[in-house]
């Protein structure tokens, strides 16, 4: 049985809206018609995740493919930092879809301060992406080392931030 509490309906609308904005931003950055098609597929997958929580994995993968298609476009790569809002949007959509899935319960949900925590998750996602992208910009083995160190540091920072919010 699927229970659509008012809170859950509102969150579902916000999740779909976030997915549409993310797709639109990626399509605008990509500039090609097939980027619009990719964005449409991404939004469709996000919609399907409203009904089946397992589709959140597909939504994340579709978001990564969408971002990668912009990042590695044939007419020359886009500046990686332009994609920070897209990555943050994919994370925020996944977080909202996760909460929508959690509220599929016969228990009446009580208002909880979830949205600030989701904002932090999106911030972590965008920040880690930006940091690792900048580190990857360095040439040669230094760049690889910087990616590894930067990635590790970001994981530690994310854990510290997440614990600080609890």
């Amino acid at each position: 049985m699927i229970t659509w509490w008012p809170t859950r309906r509102r969150l579902a609308v916000i999740a779909v809206g976030t997915a549409v904005l993310t797709g639109a931003a990626a399509a605008w950055l990509g500039g090609a018609a097939w980027h619009v098609d990719y964005a449409a597929v991404y939004v469709a997958v996000a919609l399907s995740a409203l009904l089946s929580p397992a589709a959140i994995t597909l939504q994340v993968i579709a978001g990564q493919v969408l971002a990668a298609s912009v990042l590695l476009r044939p007419d020359g790569p886009a500046p990686p930092l332009l994609l920070v809002p897209v990555v943050a949007g994919v994370v925020l959509t996944a977080e909202l879809l996760g909460l929508v899935a959690r509220l599929d319960t016969p228990l009446r949900p009580r208002p909880a301060p979830e949205l600030p925590r989701m904002g932090l998750s999106a911030l972590i996602g965008g920040g880690v992406y930006a940091a690792v992208s900048l580190a990857g910009g360095l040439s040669g083995p230094t760049g690889l080392l910087a990616v590894a160190l930067g990635g590790g540091a970001c994981v530690v920072l994310a854990v510290v931030l997440a614990r600080g919010m609890r």
Partner: protein, 448 residues
């Protein structure tokens, strides 16, 4: 002596990991697949940009896995009364405590025979992030009679923002005894052969008692206290007053406990049990000895006995039958041999759903027992016909019931229909009339 109104509770001995189940949030698998997938793609294609796309998701997965939730969660469930009557409200509360800050979902599951009133439709609470303890009141409505478990208290705990949820069974809720709703009944059936114990039925035999039977001339051996001085003075010779002795009868209730695993069938059994309880109560008040034999998917046997103890034992057996009707996995088998007293009036209480029960009633009649049957009307429980086939099936079912009633009548077992509108009282009156007619016709047919 324990206060019967005191709350009863069961405290859990839950410790970390006991009965606990961990499962991941749907986002956890998404972040892990997305993160590692992007890393693999980066290595495979040689594009380090793809590694940057995977890193955020791995960071979020690591942050979500870092804390597994509070170490200690304990809880209790209490109810204010453990004996209620059908349709009564049962008030209770769940008390849950845990270490640290956590988001906790509390649920009472697996209850039977009751319906949630508040909260509804499930007895559960989704608590925002916070610290324990919390006390959560709930109200249930006793839906059907019987001994019912109120289920198990479960919690689902997670640290705010964590991607791992832990489910744990905290405590078993107490059971509650739901007594049948009282039926108005003030008429007695006439037991077959009253016994020589003080009671309310008038015997045809004469002896010490308070009800006048006749006056007759004094015979040697008569007690002097029985002399009727006025009659003796008027007639000039000693006459004595003779009384009817007050005696009790034996009633054996034969309850049809054949039912299916569906709501309507259980309701049919509940109606039969209410009627049986009404008949038993009124006969026990009249000092009769009452026994119970339930036959069907569940069994019960209580030899006829009288008094307050018999009342409680009988109610206990009926409640067990009711509990079995609500719990499809609970089967009861009769482990004692049934000894039906020869003088017992056998009262079958049935909704005529079983041929076996019908055969049993006729068998008791053939072996010389006075046997009657209260047929519980369950026609209102039949589904409303959706088409002609349904309507025909309904007509066939009702015709089958009438045919079975006629079969009982032809076999010497008078029947009466207990309807929801008229109750058991009208059926008992009808049975008494039919028994009188039957006795009269038998007496007329007997060789002189």
């Amino acid at each position: 002596m324990a206060d019967p109104t005191a709350p009863r509770s069961v405290r859990s001995g839950a410790t970390r990991g006991q009965d606990g189940r961990r499962h991941g949030d749907p986002r956890l698998s998404a972040y892990l697949v997305g993160g590692f997938g992007a890393l693999i793609a980066a290595v495979a294609t040689g594009h380090h940009e793809l590694a940057a796309l995977g890193a955020p998701f791995l960071a979020l997965a690591a942050a979500g896995l870092v804390d597994g939730g509070p170490a200690r969660v304990v809880g209790t469930v209490t109810v204010r009364a453990d004996r209620v009557i059908e349709d009564d409200l049962i008030e209770g509360e769940a008390r849950v405590d845990w270490d640290g800050e956590a988001e906790v979902d509390v649920m009472l599951t697996g209850w039977r025979g009751v319906a949630p009133v508040d909260p509804a439709p499930a007895i559960g609470w989704s608590l925002p992030a916070g610290r324990g303890p919390v006390t959560l009141p709930f109200r249930l409505r006793a839906r059907s009679w019987g001994v019912h478990d109120l289920g198990t208290l479960w919690v689902r705990v997670r640290t705010p923002g964590a991607l791992v949820v832990r489910e744990r069974k905290l405590a078993s809720a107490p059971s509650v005894r739901v007594l049948p709703a009282p039926l108005r009944l003030d008429r007695l059936l006439k037991p077959a052969e009253p016994r020589a114990v003080a009671g309310m039925h008038l015997s045809r035999s004469r002896g010490p008692g308070t009800d006048f039977a006749e006056l007759r001339p004094y015979q040697p051996g008569d007690r002097l206290r029985d002399l009727s001085w006025a009659t003796s003075a008027r007639l000039g010779e000693p006459w004595v007053t003779v009384h009817h002795p007050e005696r009790t009868g034996t009633v054996l209730l034969l309850l049809d406990a054949f039912f299916w695993n569906e709501r309507r069938s259980a309701e049919g059994l509940a109606r039969a049990a209410r009627a049986a309880w009404a008949v038993a109560s009124v006969h026990l008040r009249a000092q009769d000895r009452v026994g119970l034999l339930a036959q069907g998917r569940t069994a019960a046997w209580l030899p006829p006995q009288g008094g307050r103890r018999a009342r409680w034992l009988l109610l206990d057996e009926l409640l067990s039958v009711g509990g079995a009707a609500e719990d499809r996995w609970r089967r009861r088998w009769r482990d004692a041999r049934v000894m039906v007293p020869a003088d017992a009036l056998i009262v079958g209480v049935t909704s005529l759903g079983s041929h076996t029960f019908l055969r049993d009633l006729l068998r008791y009649r053939r072996t010389g027992h006075t046997t009657v049957a209260l047929v519980i009307d369950t026609s209102d429980l039949l589904l409303d016909p959706a088409d002609r086939v349904d309507a025909a099936a309904r007509r066939i079912r009702l015709a089958q019931r009438d045919a079975e009633r006629h079969a009982l009548d032809r076999g010497g077992v008078p029947t009466a229909l207990v309807t929801t509108s008229e109750g058991a009282g009208a059926a008992i009156s009808a049975l008494r009339r039919r028994m009188r007619r039957l006795h009269a016709s038998r007496a007329a047919a007997a060789p002189r």
